[in-house]
């Protein structure tokens, strides 16, 4: 493996995994914080429910992990999201475990290569950062939904 000394390391694969899993743990808490009967019914200003947002985060994260692992980036077939908290949480936990196993095995050089993603070309690193951005962004919406429901969300800084 070539190490580009110009490309000073700020973030290692282990740090990326830890960072991502910290966000997944927090998003899981937000999903759990919704009452069962509100997760797939409540929304504000015509936006999606947090349950469906959760499935989107799950789908994007799974797509990026799969692309990093296989180096294939076709548009996945996404089924209709099951409108049930327990099913979402089970899929969530399965993907988190898969990420623990698989992300450390991704060849590091792959991250700097440009890939043809379903939404356009970007480097695999940008794709991974985008998956994180997307998760944090939409989870922020979930915090507002919980407040609008009169519920205190879990602290943002506890992962």
């Amino acid at each position: 493996m070539n190490v580009d000394v110009q490309a000073v390391s700020l973030l290692t694969p282990a740090q990326l995994l830890a960072h991502w899993q910290g966000h997944r743990r927090l998003t899981r808490k937000i999903i759990e914080a919704f009452p069962d009967d509100q997760l797939f019914s409540f929304s504000a200003a015509g936006m999606r429910t947090f349950g469906n947002i959760g499935w989107e985060i799950q789908g994007v994260s799974s797509y990026i992990l799969s692309g990093l692992m296989t180096d294939q980036w076709p548009k996945p077939e996404w089924g209709k999201p099951v409108q049930q908290k327990s099913v979402l949480l089970a899929a969530w936990d399965e993907l988190s475990a898969q990420m623990d196993r698989e992300l450390p095995t991704v060849p590091p050089a792959r991250y700097s290569e440009e890939k043809a993603l379903m939404w356009g070309k970007q480097t695999a690193l940008s794709a991974a950062l985008y998956a994180l951005d997307n998760e944090i962004h939409h989870r922020g919406q979930g915090y507002v939904y919980l407040r609008l429901l009169g519920l205190e969300p879990p602290p943002f800084w506890e992962r």
Copy 2:
């Protein structure tokens, strides 16, 4: 400078700067998207106005940039946030220009060192990622506010 070959580079200083500035450009657009008379008055569910959230993002980003540059991490003195969009945007642009000048000069080794931040100990890298997390998270709230105001927010993926 030592390059730790175990610490494979996924993110270079230049990429961190580009990523951060992309987020700053997007947050700036969200601040701008608020009508002048709503930025410091509208909020939902007892949460802060997006103007005050913008000042917080600005304060945290400035604190982290300053810490990275000087390696001093004391709690800054934060004045009362000026309730005026033009003042916030001027401060925003000033910090963005400062970040362009200063972030590339931070010694890369500093990122992996643990620092005593105002909210506890973490590595400087974690602190930088936390500043980004915080910005994306709170900006997600701003998207909901805009929707609640009946406004279409700028696209998340355009930076």
